[in-house]
């Protein structure tokens, strides 16, 4: 069996536009006045046809509309794309079709039409539960508006998740506990909780470099915030199944699980990445980041990718390790060993087990909660010890 089948097969579709750019965001998103949705439709459909040709016969488990703000897409566009996807790949009965949405009233008005088009799950960018912090995060919606949009989404969709950003400026442990408790009361089955990180190239990074952006938590407070998050979510029956993702058991994002479990995914749209196992080789695919360039390339060449690169067995093994170790289920050591092509010297992990960063390896390699907090450093150690 090809390794990707352990993770499954999904499709990611990138809509690169937003109404405004948030100061913390380093995603490939752009603000544009004129968007010719028809031209975009043609480009997406061309890409679906092309990738369908390469992966024909595979069963598609998930589609994810990410961005940008895909809730700004015309419902007709989403519908046309979903029709073409269904015509291209057989889909599992309970296929997950997620669309990222901003919790504003305008977008809430489209939820029913999105559901009609085939969307089954909404992932909502709530980010904070109070207006002052929403403003500091550069969000256009208010907390009330968000709550109403969330209620609308809940009525229309069975599965609604939302994101919060914490470890914000001047956020105390008490503030966050209160906010998270409030959020957990709203929760359906899934919650993404991200600590604010200052990424290079963002407005926050500039501000920080100029000496602004005061009041960010130090390491000790970040750790306390993370630990409080785990405690409150566990108590609410929403344990972490990944570093920043919480769900009721079995309600994790199936699409994201494809990434973390090392499945195959086709990426469509500006800057979209993909991983496709074709003819025994795993390929990394990537599209031009600029929306204009991508659109022009698909129009001119009938394909929207940069040259692909083949992953070596070591690359593949490392990638599987670094993605899967984020999960609470951890890394399948049998798979890792087969990918790497050699027996793993697991005894070399003993010092990390002794330090309380890893659980004693069995068939799976799993980090402890402390280990998960230093995962970047831990990964380097594990990669050095095993691969």
């Amino acid at each position: 069996m090809e390794d990707w089948r352990h993770g499954g097969f999904g499709l990611y579709l990138h809509w690169p536009f937003c109404q405004s750019k948030c100061p913390y965001c380093d995603f490939n998103s752009h603000v544009s006045a004129e968007i010719d949705q028809d031209q975009w439709r043609r480009a997406y459909l061309t890409e679906i046809d092309r990738l369908g040709g390469e992966t024909g016969g595979r069963i598609l488990q998930s589609v994810f509309f990410g961005g940008g703000t895909p809730s700004l897409m015309a419902p007709e566009l989403v519908s046309a794309i979903m029709d073409r996807i269904r015509a291209t790949w057989p889909m599992v009965n309970d296929a997950e079709v997620t669309l990222e949405a901003n919790p504003s009233s305008i977008e809430a008005g489209r939820f029913a039409a999105f559901r009609q088009a085939g969307v089954t799950r909404i992932s909502m960018g709530m980010q904070a539960m109070n207006d002052a912090d929403l403003r500091r995060l550069g969000r256009l919606h208010t907390a009330d508006e968000a709550r109403r949009a969330f209620e609308t989404a809940r009525r229309i969709f069975d599965r609604v998740s939302f994101d919060l950003i914490y470890a914000r400026q001047d956020q105390s442990l008490t503030d966050w506990r209160a906010e998270l408790t409030e959020a957990l009361a709203l929760t359906v089955d899934h919650l993404s909780l991200y600590q604010l990180t200052i990424e290079s190239g963002t407005a926050f990074a500039d501000r920080l470099a100029r000496g602004g952006l005061r009041g960010l938590p130090g390491e000790d407070l970040s750790v306390e915030l993370y630990e409080a998050t785990q405690e409150l979510c566990d108590r609410a029956g929403m344990p972490a199944y990944e570093v920043s993702n919480h769900a009721r058991p079995g309600a994790g994002s199936r699409h994201n699980m494809i990434y973390w479990r090392g499945g195959d995914y086709a990426g469509i749209g500006p800057g979209a990445h993909g991983r496709l196992t074709l003819g025994g080789t795993r390929w990394a695919t990537e599209a031009p980041r600029s929306p204009g360039l991508w659109l022009a390339q698909v129009g001119a060449e009938g394909q929207g990718e940069l040259p692909r690169s083949a992953l070596s067995p070591l690359d593949h093994a490392e990638e599987y390790l670094l993605m899967s170790l984020r999960l609470s289920e951890g890394t399948d050591l049998g798979r890792l060993s087969r990918l790497y092509g050699e027996r793993l010297a697991l005894d070399r992990l003993a010092p990390l087990v002794e330090l309380g960063l890893l659980h004693e390896p069995g068939t799976q390699l799993v980090t402890t909660e402390r280990g998960r907090l230093v995962l970047n450093a831990l990964l380097a150690e594990i990669a050095a010890a095993l691969l």
């Binding site: 990611y12 991200y194 600590q195 604010l196 990180t197 390491e219 000790d220 970040s222 750790v223 993370y226 570093v243 920043s244 994201n256 494809i258 990434y259 995914y265 990426g267 800057g271 979209a272 990445h273 993909g274 991983r275 990394a284 990537e286 690359d315 490392e318 990638e319 670094l322 993605m323 984020r326 010092p351 990390l352 330090l355 960063l357 998960r372 907090l373 230093v374 995962l375 970047n376 450093a377 831990l378 990964l379 380097a380 150690e381 990669a383 050095a384």
Partner: protein
């Protein structure tokens, strides 16, 4: 062979940047010795490192033909001497090979400590000295003041100093004429047995070992069988030539002449600077005075960052040794650093030059351990041992007392920085021996332990005086002091490469500064790390590097895998630059940085 009275042999004495190499270039150029199209800046400094640092490491020579105003054509032999105190012995031999010197002083900067040391060497060699004021065309030039300074500080008559600009060529004909009229011709007896001094030698990839020599008495010819008096080795001369500066074959060299020969000599090590060369048969009876075998004074360990580079390092060191007999090596094993070499050098500059060449010319990444001097251990059983490596320090119960080398340091500095200099020397256990003024410049002489100078003293000196101080030293004697071995323990494991000998009274301060620095230099690990300084079993300073608590990427989805993979590659590359000590990884730069002292 040239008549003695038509030969002039000379060297140029100058401080770095005062224009020695430019003047040499100009003399070569103006006499048409090198065709215009072959001129490149600073012909005589042939190594990249020499050009970059503006220093001369190997002696070099050039033979110039100069038609003087008296209508006769003279042979001028310029020996370009190494300009650094590390090579003081080599300088003294080069000085002995010539009869006069041009003393080049920057007309705006004046006399510097290094100038002094070299002038004294020239005077010791009995030279006639012609003062030359360079950079006379600069607006800041003060020729009258500098002349006065030369008279006050050096005690030379500067009234007939020649004012020049080596850069523009101004005054160069006067210099050439002065060499002929003011410097003495060599003396020598053509009919006496051959007596020649080995001035320098180097390894040439095509010719093997090339030996530079100055004939004192007698005549040497191609094909002669010669003997080196210090080593008693006998060779047949294959090639005899003069340097213009390219090699030009010559049938014989007579008294007063300077040239080179090759004789199928395998290694530079077989030739000793200062040795006397004579004929195998009917040679001279007594060698020239002043010969000394090279004596390394500063030692350090050189280890490859990547253990797999040990063999390439061994090869590189062997190749460099071919051309530099003054640096000694022996294999060393460090618990922390694995296999490497303990190397001895003539001084810190020599150490840096060798390390730079190993890294650049042989593309090696090296860890250099703390430079150490040679301590003399007087054992209770009466034995006297040389300690080259603090790691080899025996148990103190067997040691009666320890002596360390002291130096006599001469520092010249504008008086506004004098206070900083006195403090620096005081901090380094210096004893002031003399303090005098020449104009607004102070000259201080300190008796200092060499051990306090080998690490970053010169850097500190430059930084506290914004580069205005100049410094020179000679090794004076060994003297007893209360010295102890200080160990550094990281995560309770001693790191042998960081062990050092320190004065007992300074151990606490030094230990504190070391552990504080190491705390900054060692990246946090996933566990807490005690860092300690200890004398014997007693901890004298301690810091704890706290454990890393959080380092995790918040978001990582399909589009982030590539970026995360790159981060992992970077971490892996970073780990390669680390050394593993027990469970702790120490970056290689920590070994040097930790030893730097602040103030």
């Amino acid at each position: 062979m040239t008549q003695l009275d038509l030969i002039r042999n000379f060297s140029i004495v100058a401080h770095i940047d005062h224009g020695k190499s430019t003047l040499a270039d100009r003399l070569i150029q103006m006499t048409g010795t090198v065709a215009e199209r072959d001129m490149k800046a600073q012909i005589l400094d042939s190594m990249d490192i020499e050009r970059e640092r503006g220093i001369t490491i190997k002696a070099n020579t050039v033979r110039i033909e100069y038609p003087a105003k008296d209508g006769k054509t003279y042979i001028l032999n310029l020996i370009d001497t190494p300009g650094h105190v590390d090579f003081a012995y080599e300088v003294s031999r080069s000085m002995k090979a010539v009869e006069g010197s041009l003393l080049v002083v920057d007309a705006s900067q004046g006399v510097e400590a290094q100038t002094l040391a070299n002038v004294y060497q020239a005077l010791d060699a009995g030279h006639e000295i012609v003062p030359v004021l360079n950079k006379i065309d600069l607006p800041a030039a003060e020729p009258e003041r500098i002349k006065q300074q030369i008279e006050d500080v050096i005690g030379l008559d500067a009234s007939e100093a020649i004012a020049i600009s080596a850069k523009s060529g101004l005054g160069i004909p006067d210099v050439l004429e002065a060499i002929v009229t003011r410097l003495p011709a060599p003396k020598g007896d053509r009919d006496a047995p051959l007596k020649a001094m080995l001035v320098d030698s180097w390894y040439d990839a095509y010719l093997g070992v090339v030996v530079m020599l100055r004939v004192i008495d007698g005549v040497v010819k191609k094909g002669d069988r010669i003997r080196m008096m210090a080593t008693n080795a006998v060779y047949g001369i294959d090639k005899l030539a003069v340097l213009k500066p390219q090699m030009v074959d010559i049938p014989e060299l007579g008294p007063g002449e300077i040239g080179i020969f090759t004789a199928s000599i395998k290694q530079v090590r077989d030739t000793r600077v200062g040795d006397t060369v004579t004929h195998e048969r009917k040679g001279c009876d007594t060698p020239l005075p002043g010969f000394k075998p090279a004596q390394p004074v500063v030692f350090c360990g050189l280890f490859p960052v990547d253990a797999a580079d040990f063999e390439p390092l061994r090869d590189a060191i062997e190749k460099l040794s071919l051309n530099d007999a003054s640096f000694s090596t022996e294999m060393e094993t460090s618990a922390a650093l694995g296999f490497g070499f303990r190397c001895g050098f003539l001084g810190l500059l020599h150490l840096e030059v060798i390390r730079d060449r190993l890294e650049r010319e042989y593309d090696l990444d090296l860890i250099t351990t703390a430079p150490s001097v040679v301590f003399k251990l007087y054992m209770k059983d009466g034995e006297v041992r040389d300690l080259h490596n603090p790691a080899d320090m025996p148990d103190l119960t067997y040691v009666d007392h320890i002596e360390e080398p002291r130096i006599k340091a001469t520092i010249m500095v504008p008086d506004e920085y004098l206070g900083d200099i006195l403090k620096l020397c005081q901090d380094r256990r210096g004893i002031q021996m003399d303090l005098s003024y020449a104009g607004s410049r102070a000259m201080v002489v300190y008796d200092l332990p060499l051990a306090e100078v080998v690490f970053d003293f010169y850097d500190r000196l430059k930084s506290v005086t914004k580069g205005y101080a100049s410094f020179d030293y000679t090794i004076s004697e060994y003297r007893e002091d209360h010295l102890v071995k200080m160990s550094i323990l990281v995560n309770d494991e001693p790191v042998d490469a960081l062990a050092m000998m320190v004065h007992r009274d300074r151990a606490e301060a030094r230990g504190r500064s070391m552990v504080e620095k190491l705390k900054e230099l060692i990246p946090r690990h996933m566990f807490k790390i005690p860092i300690q300084a200890a004398i014997g079993g007693r901890v004298i300073a301690r810091e704890t590097l706290s454990a890393m608590r959080k380092d995790v990427t918040a978001k990582c989805y399909g589009g982030d895998a590539t970026r995360k993979k790159k981060l992992l590659e970077k971490q892996k590359a970073g780990k390669k630059k680390m050394r593993q000590f027990g469970k702790v990884e120490i970056p290689q730069e920590a070994f040097i940085s930790a030893l730097k002292m602040d103030g």
